[in-house]
């Protein structure tokens, strides 16, 4: 059974590992045989390695699965027990690509009209004040100015036009 050990320098919740910004660097490739019953989800193997392990990610070709290394135990000189847990995101990345999801937030798409409750606001407001002038209203004067309008309403038939 071939096991490839990598050093992964990226985000654990990145689906597809090994891109430009999260390189997956191969450290060592080992061949071996399982000597005891092993779960596919949580794998424990014992390997011989002549220095302190400098890897953190594993691919087991026979299982077609990628794993995060969750624990490393020194058994004796140059013998290490490696405990792994499956990385379902990378292992099943093609299944994920074919999946539908309701995406609430995204980095590369944005609907600006949706209320964003993670936005940070400073206290207070910026106030814009704009005046719209008009030719209709005058200031209300306690004592009418000479040119202020006064109008009189009269009763029926007592005020008619001279040309009628």
């Amino acid at each position: 059974m071939k096991i490839v050990f990598y050093h992964y320098k990226g985000l654990k919740n990145q689906i597809k590992k090994g891109g430009r910004d999260d390189p997956l660097t191969k450290v060592i490739e080992l061949d071996g045989t399982l000597k005891q019953p092993t779960s596919l989800t949580n794998v424990v193997v014992t390997i011989e390695y002549d220095k302190t392990p400098n890897f953190n990610y594993v691919y087991i070709e026979e299982f077609s699965r990628y794993y995060f290394i969750t624990n490393i135990v020194s058994v004796r000189n140059n013998v290490w027990q490696i405990t792994m847990h499956i990385d379902v995101l990378y292992t099943y990345n093609t299944i994920i690509d074919n999946s539908y999801a309701f995406i609430e937030r995204a980095e590369q798409q944005h609907n600006p009209m949706i209320v964003d409750n993670k936005r940070v606001f400073e206290a207070g407001y910026q106030i814009e004040k704009n005046e719209i002038s008009n030719d209709v209203f005058r200031t209300f004067n306690m004592t009418p100015r000479d040119d202020d309008f006064v109008y009189v309403i009269t009763g029926f038939d007592f005020f008619t036009r001279a040309d009628e």
Binding site: K16, Y92, Q108, Q109, R138, F149, F158
Partner: protein
Amino acid sequence: MWIDFRNYISNIFYKNTHFNGMMLTNKRGLYNIVKDFESIFSNFTDYSSEMTSIYYCPIKSIKVSETSQYLNNSRGDWKDIKVKGIEADSTIQHLGQYFVSPRFNNFADYKGYTHIKIYLPYMGYVNVDPNECMGKYLQFFVAFDFATGKGIHLIGTSSNYIDNQHEPYIVDDCFGDVRIISTYEFDFAMEIPVGTSNIGDIKRNAVLGAIKTVATAAVSAATMGIPAAVVATTSSVTSSFEVQERSPDKGSRLKTTSAGTETQTTETTKTTNNPKSFSKTALEAFNSSIGVLNMSAPNGNTDRVNDASLLWSMPTNIIVEIYRPKMMNYSKNEISLLGQPVGVANPISFMSGFMVASSVKIPDISSSSSITLEELEELEMLLTSPNGFYRYRVEEDDDFTNLKSFELYYYKNHYDWVSQYKFYYPHEYMTWKDFINSPYNVGNMFAYEVGDDYVRLNIKDDYGDYYYLENNVNSLVDINSKVYNYNHPDYGYGFY
């Protein structure tokens, strides 16, 4: 279907007000009118019953008839009067307009975040829903009913600027143009007591202190049940938006129906010889004006005005105040950590970068994969985790290699709100790779699908989402614009 504005206003008043004698004059003219009445009528009762009401009305633009008038009595005596008749007993005027421009171009421009207060002359402050007017013109109209001294401020919205070529007509919603969103009733004239006074009072009031008499009564009304909310306008102006709003019984929003327009505005009733009934409204308007003056005061604590003697300083202009929230902008790092709201149901392969999904539907994989139920459940849990996940295209380098040699020449939309047209102008040159790494690729403008000869872009502020990169042309063309494609000599492709 056009609705004649004037008929519309008549409907608001719910009645016809056809007084055949409505004379416009000024302070001195009123004295002469009283003298004319005195000369043609034999006693006080005769003319005081016919001189129904006298209003002081500090409104500038009232249309008058130039025809000379005469007065007669039942005995056939007549007398010329040197006054002008008011041409119509009601009138409607367009006071102005104001474009409410969005600042953030996102949810923060709307209700709950942005607040809009408007000061209306003789009326006071009112709140306007930003959802109704953001990105539109606020249109201000005023209607006067001279028979009652009542006016109505009408606030509407329109997509277009109203100029001399466009009458201020309102139309039904579906026809665009001006849509009335609220109406507010106010008093624009103060009645000078006639019936309860003798002729000496009328003449003295006409020349000296007519309004002062009424205004004094108005101040007295302050202790007679002025709503607390109105009085509160003289205090803090930023503590609450609602408290400064005019008492709701003095005007209400207009409701529109498919059958036409109906109003909830209270029916105007004529007030005769009862100063208190209108002076209360005058005081409300005055108190609101004090609120305006307070805001202008250099030191609000000490320079604040709170005395009724400043009634004359009441602003006559409309004042639009927009309270914009102080929203922090996301940095690129924050966006990569938090994402921004998108709200779409997509195949995950359509997405890239960081994302948070609330539900996921994984296709039936039982026949084609050795995935266990435990693994499947863990996969669902990770994909719907509130911490989100990342999907970067590891093959991006290859995708970009083919386009790397292109110079991306895109057009930034500059929408002219005044005209109906929009066009794009070349913003700047950049290579495709530069663009991917540029700030335009985050928030403002980003590409989310790349093909051999096209790119789908989402451009903020823009209506068109889909662009494609024309091979060997180095320009982005709005697919929608293909219908109206116009090759501008200076600006290249775009709307025009």
